[in-house]
């Protein structure tokens, strides 16, 4: 349900927005994107120092005592700044896995920015995250991994990959150094202008102690990760949509055609009003998704998360389409960040289950 922020949370929100306001503009984003990693490693170290990376984890897990709301605040701010740094891929996903699997040392390294982690879970042919085709087989004292993962967010720069695979026929989560033999990381550009990686494992060797989760624990860890990813994607999309909404509103107040500010034309006013409504509703649904993370895993939570994903993405996409249209020609240019926001939202709409996936899930869980 809906909540308001504690004073600490409000402070985090303000400090994030101040930092991003200072450090992020269109030129900076362009520069960061051009770096090898597809983002700025310096900024990553700075946000580690600012405590962002630990803010979403409880103290007993090595975090700073926060939870889903803190993550939401940061993801929304990052979305609003159209930030290139992979908070989703290198903080939310691996952080959730490490926290849930109890790998607190690794989590500490992630939080301090000492190591970069990424989760390799998505596969080209397997629709379910709980049924990977990737396998880990006994090999000497340890294990050898075979398989192929796609769209590993943050994978282009990760020191450590957290890999889902079948071990003895059951799901397991494995810790793999990205530089060991048999790991082939292929970086590619992504729709939103960033980078990600496809990764092949060809007899990549790990120790038995690198099995972070198995048995009944592993599916729970993966499910929790996906739940957090959905809420984070909602928050980030909302932030990006707010950026597009605000820029469009500014443009309507600035641009003059036919001797009037175009914001005086009633047809555009009504469309802007509908964008405003969409933004308000997306905000509500994003908060609902975050609040749902506090509930026990189960059908009810899955249904709420699916509804939030469908609803936030549909509304954010509406705002994205209208932002381009109401900007006219300049909305189509790479120079303005309208397209960047649009592409980021479109990307998030396809990740962690697209509309089809979540509609199917809602239908199957209908009460």
């Amino acid at each position: 349900m809906v909540f308001s922020l504690t004073p600490e949370q409000a402070m985090l929100q303000e400090s994030a927005s101040r930092f991003l306001g200072d450090r992020y503009d269109d030129a900076a984003r362009r520069r960061f994107r051009a770096e090898d990693a597809g983002f700025s490693l310096d900024i990553w170290q700075e946000i580690a120092r600012l405590g962002w990376l630990g803010s979403g984890f409880s103290e007993q897990r090595g975090g700073f005592g926060g939870g889903p709301i803190e993550t939401m605040i940061l993801m929304e701010a990052a979305g609003n700044a159209l930030m290139s740094e992979p908070l989703l891929g290198s903080m939310v996903l691996p952080g959730s896995v490490l926290a849930e699997a109890g790998s607190y040392d690794d989590l500490a390294h992630l939080i301090e920015g000492k190591s970069l982690f990424a989760v390799a879970w998505d596969e080209p042919e397997q629709p379910s995250a709980l049924e990977p085709a990737t396998v880990a087989e006994p090999c000497g004292d340890g294990l050898a991994i075979h398989g192929e993962k796609k769209l590993v967010l943050g994978g282009q720069i990760a020191d450590v990959l957290l890999v889902t695979a079948k071990l003895d026929g059951r799901l397991a989560i494995l810790r793999v150094q990205s530089d060991v033999g048999g790991v082939d990381v292929r970086t590619h550009r992504t729709l939103d202008g960033g980078k990600a990686a496809n990764v092949r494992f060809d007899s990549a060797r790990i120790d038995r102690s690198d099995v972070l989760a198995s048995g009944n624990e592993a599916p729970a860890v993966v499910s929790e990760m996906l739940a957090r990813a959905i809420a984070a994607a909602c928050a980030e999309s909302l932030g990006a949509a707010r950026n597009l909404h605000d820029r469009t509103l500014d443009y309507l107040k600035l641009r003059v055609q036919f001797g009037r500010r175009i914001g005086e034309f009633q047809a555009l006013q009504h469309r802007m009003a509908d964008m405003f409504i969409a933004l308000e509703e997306a905000q509500s649904l994003s908060m609902m998704a975050t609040a749902a993370l506090e509930e026990p895993n189960g059908d009810h939570r899955d249904r709420i998360l699916s509804a939030a994903k469908i609803g936030v993405m549909g509304r954010a996409m509406h705002i994205g389409r209208e932002a381009i249209q109401l900007h006219g020609g300049v909305g189509m240019t790479d120079e303005l960040p309208i397209g960047d926001g649009y592409k980021r939202i479109k990307s998030l709409s396809l990740m962690f289950g697209d509309e089809d996936f979540h509609l199917d899930r809602m239908n199957s869980l209908a009460v």
Binding site: F3, S4, F276, S284, A291, A308, I310
Partner: protein, 392 residues
């Protein structure tokens, strides 16, 4: 992390639910679930029950007979009663004129009019719109000319919901023709039994006559029935419109409609249609968005942070969603919907649910074309958002 769902509020919700289960008359509930238009006695019987419990004007201050409910309690009360199948609580006295009187009225007016509302004895209606002043209320032309201790009222009001059942009407009237349109308007209480008042029902497209045109011909209204100051009526009207719109996100009613669609679909063998399932899931997404937004607005109201335009968001979305759901129910009925006869429906209102429901669904769907028009059309609401929320 705070939410509006305090333990007290949850307890109150359970109380309301239990109260409805015990006290809502079965025949009224049946009509509501079936979508059959209610009669005046139906409304009054249920409101008497609420008045008996002290809940009819729950959100009013205790000083005037209310329970001092917070916005959250008011919302919970509305949602729970609606969801349980209680009739729409007629807002004209309780939500509209009552708060205007206890906020702006004189001591005498409070003493004269508030008890009739809290006890459900006086039936009010609202005289705002005129044939040439619909969206543009400032253009209204009904005149009230001061004549000693009286105002002489001439003109006409239209779309006065349930005026044919009402005892009193509160009106916006023009008291200064020379002033710019929004000035010169006053807020007047008029006894409908006064000589010169004529009420003419208007049949609407579903075949029922809840709407009326009210004509005033040299109607003498005691000057003491003027609320607040002369020519300041616009202020009180705006105050009232804000009250009206907060109520417009009827999530409970929409959920009730969705439950009915599932029942109808099961009856027609459509309940496994993937298309139907998708549609229901999408409605559920829209309702969650509306519900969560309503809760956020309530949170803002409780925190004193509401900016005022939020009500327009709820009005636009609430009315549109309800319209889509009730129209979709007709599609689920299919050709069964084509056998429709509002007279038969009125005459057979007491029959079992299955026998009358399909006509009730059609009646409701036709009637539900109105919420996007009334209470300030959705076009007006978008103008409000553009101006007040967006600064355009």
């Amino acid at each position: 992390m705070t939410t509006i769902w305090t333990p007290e509020l949850r307890a109150f919700r359970d109380d309301v639910r239990a109260f409805c289960e015990e006290n809502l008359p079965a025949d009224i509930r049946l009509k509501v679930l079936a979508g059959v238009p209610l009669t005046r006695p139906d409304h009054m019987r249920w409101q008497d029950i609420l008045a008996g419990k002290g809940w009819l004007v729950g959100f009013w201050p205790r000083a005037y007979g209310g329970c001092d409910w917070s916005a959250a309690e008011t919302y919970v009360f509305q949602e729970e009663t609606t969801s349980s199948g209680a009739p729409w609580l007629l807002p004209f006295g309780v939500n509209y004129v009552g708060p205007v009187i206890y906020t702006y009225g004189s001591t005498d007016q409070k003493a004269e009019h508030l008890p009739g509302i809290t006890s459900n004895e006086v039936f009010w209606c609202q005289g705002y719109s005129e044939p040439n002043a619909g969206s543009d209320l400032a253009g209204l032309k009904t005149r009230a000319v001061r004549d000693g201790e009286y105002y002489i009222v001439n003109g006409t009001k239209i779309w006065t919901t349930m005026a044919h059942w009402a005892d009193w009407i509160f009106c916006l009237v023009r008291t200064d023709a020379a002033a710019v349109p929004q000035r010169g308007i006053s807020f007047l209480l008029i006894d409908l039994r006064t000589r010169g008042v004529t009420i003419q029902p208007i049949k609407s497209i579903e075949g029922d006559s809840h709407l009326n045109q009210v004509f005033f011909e040299d109607v003498r209204v005691p000057a003491r029935n003027l609320v607040g100051e002369e020519n300041k009526g616009w202020t009180y009207a705006k105050f009232l419109l804000g009250h009206e719109r907060v109520l417009s996100a009827e999530v409970g009613k929409a959920r009730r409609y969705l439950r009915r669609i599932k029942r109808l679909a099961a009856r027609n063998g459509k309940n496994n249609s993937p298309r139907l399932k998708d549609r229901l899931s999408r409605f559920e997404v829209d309702l969650l968005a509306l519900e969560q937004t309503t809760l956020r607005v309530l949170g803002a109201i409780l925190a004193g942070e509401a900016r005022g335009h939020e009500a327009s968001v709820l009005k636009i979305r609430g009315s549109a969603i309800l319209q889509q759901i009730s129209d979709f129910a007709v599609d689920v009925l299919g050709t069964e919907a084509l056998s429709y006869d509002p007279e038969w429906l009125r005459e057979n209102a007491g029959m079992p649910l299955e026998e009358i429901e399909s006509m009730g669904v059609v009646s409701e769907a036709l009637y539900t074309r109105a919420p996007t028009i009334w209470g300030g059309s959705n076009e007006i609401q978008r103008n409000i958002l553009a101006k007040h929320a967006l600064g355009l």
